[in-house]
Amino acid sequence: MPVRPSSSNLRSGNGVIEGGVASRAADQHAAVDVHTVRIDIPGPLRSYTRQATRVTVALPARNLTLGRALTALEHAHPGIRFRIIDEQNRLRPHIQIFVNAAVERNLEAQLSPGVQIMIVAALSGG
């Protein structure tokens, strides 16, 4: 099976990973208001998260968008974003993103503090 590039993330147990580049950056700028975002990872993408089912990323609260949250996810788990979003910054077909249980395909969509994101890779075909 593929070996993913190593990550500096710290595993907190129960398949959940916390931290990442964004949170380290936040540590260096303590004055910046920081929010955390929980992202549920579908099975086909867990090879990028060391099989973690949920990842928490922290990023500046200002202009907190879905796209920025996914960029923070990429920093923490290199390679994962390109499997979700193509080179024209469009969600790939058969990928669905839920923000607090509502479908969201706009990467510019603003996120509220404590938001939960679920990425779904819709299985289809034979």
């Binding site: 590039p5 390679g79 390109f82 024209q88 990928i95």
Partner: protein
């Protein structure tokens, strides 16, 4: 490989002389391996189970690096790399992707070609839709070849990204002149054959003499559908082409393709996808004809599969089917799913979309099923 003088310990020598086939399928990658006798084959795999593997190639320069072009039905395309002949794999950190703002998206990487012998680490990739990419670090990062991807005539040559074959339009058959790393050919379905003499900076169509009878103008400058283009080993001035509209050969510096499918039996026709050339004889090639009548069933004509071999550059053809099922075998062989090994007496191999691998160790004289029950086979390459 097998033609080099044996070196190392007996075990290492045996392993080095073994023949390996990379079987890329709709559901992952398998390998078949045999000692030089090529009588007993061992199947191993799968790797990348669940991924569509469009192509897997060994670097013919080092015999160590392997690349596999993969995607799944719902995730984007990528390339996996191995530097230990497939024991471990790493994902490319920057897979082939069109530029932001181009509006184009790589659906999958379809074709992989190691670069020129004088350029270690260089690889080329062809994508669907048609795009040409280059890596200079053994496939870790890829950049678009702007001379093609941004060429002002590209859209005219290729049509829209929605045009082309049912599985998406493709850039394939990336051929590097062994005498000159700047001299390249590509094939596109659709688009035709194109040539560059400056390492991809500029391109010109090379389709004179090739029919495109599905177009209003049957002999256009471009817009053809070459299914597979190969350089003749030992004579890089000779190209062969299995096209949507027949089989052709081109002798450079000429620019007029010659129809060599005319010698095929009319009941069989000259339609198919793969074409392979002998590693030691530029006059010997093989094709796998398929039914191109009516609605293009693309299966063995009449359900009677056969390979056709030419020993004289396509002037005459011999039907080769000993060992294959005589009837009711409706095989489809994709353009990358046929290959040859490097033995002086060539082994010839092909994989079917019904998941069977067939091989001959006597240049097509007799055939044997090497493996069955695999997923749909997309590509077979010799490692």
């Amino acid at each position: 490989m097998i033609d080099a003088p044996p070196t190392g310990t007996p075990d290492a020598r045996t392993a080095a002389n073994n023949v390996r086939l990379l079987i890329a399928t709709r559901k992952g990658l398998w390998t078949l391996e045999s000692d030089p006798a090529r009588q007993t084959w061992k199947l191993a795999g799968p790797q990348f189970l669940g991924h569509i593997v469009h192509h897997a190639m060994v670097d013919s320069r080092t015999r160590r690096t392997m690349l596999a072009a993969a995607r799944t039905g719902h995730l984007g395309p990528t390339i996996f790399r191995s530097t230990d002949l497939g024991a471990t794999w790493q994902e490319a950190t920057q897979p082939p992707a069109f530029g932001l703002g181009s509006g184009r998206t790589v659906d999958h990487t379809f074709w992989l070609t190691p670069g020129h012998a004088s350029q270690p680490g260089v690889w080329y990739a062809g994508t669907s839709p048609q795009g040409l990419f280059r890596s200079e670090d053994d496939g870790a990062t890829w950049s678009g070849v702007a001379g093609f991807n941004s060429h002002p005539q590209r859209k005219a040559w290729c049509g829209g990204d929605q045009d082309g074959t049912p599985d998406g339009p493709k850039l394939h058959s990336i051929l590097i002149d062994p005498r000159d790393p700047h001299h390249m050919y590509i094939g596109m379905s659709s688009g035709g054959v194109f040539e560059s003499i400056d390492a991809g900076g500029e391109w010109r169509p090379l389709n004179r003499g090739v029919r495109a009878d599905f177009l209003p103008e049957p002999t256009p400058e471009f817009g053809h559908d070459p299914h597979c283009v190969r350089l003749a080993n030992g004579n890089p001035d000779r190209l062969y082409q299995q096209n949507h509209c027949g089989i052709y050969r081109l002798d450079r510096p000429g620019t007029q393709w010659r129809d060599i499918g005319a010698g095929m039996p009319q009941t069989v026709g000259a339609i198919g996808f793969p074409l392979v050339t002998h590693f030691h004889d530029p006059e010997t090639l093989w094709v796998f004809p398929m039914d191109g009548s009516d609605v293009w069933p693309r299966v063995s004509p009449g359900g009677e599969p056969a390979v056709y071999r030419s020993r004289d550059g396509g002037t005459t053809w011999q039907r080769q089917r000993e060992g294959m099922p005589p009837t009711q075998a409706w095989w489809t062989v994709k353009r990358q799913a046929m290959t040859v090994d490097r033995f002086p007496t060539a082994g010839v191999y092909f994989g079917t979309t019904s998941g069977e691998v067939w091989g001959s160790r006597d240049e097509g004289g007799t055939w044997k099923c090497l493996s069955a029950h695999l997923p749909q086979i997309y590509a077979v390459e010799t490692a």
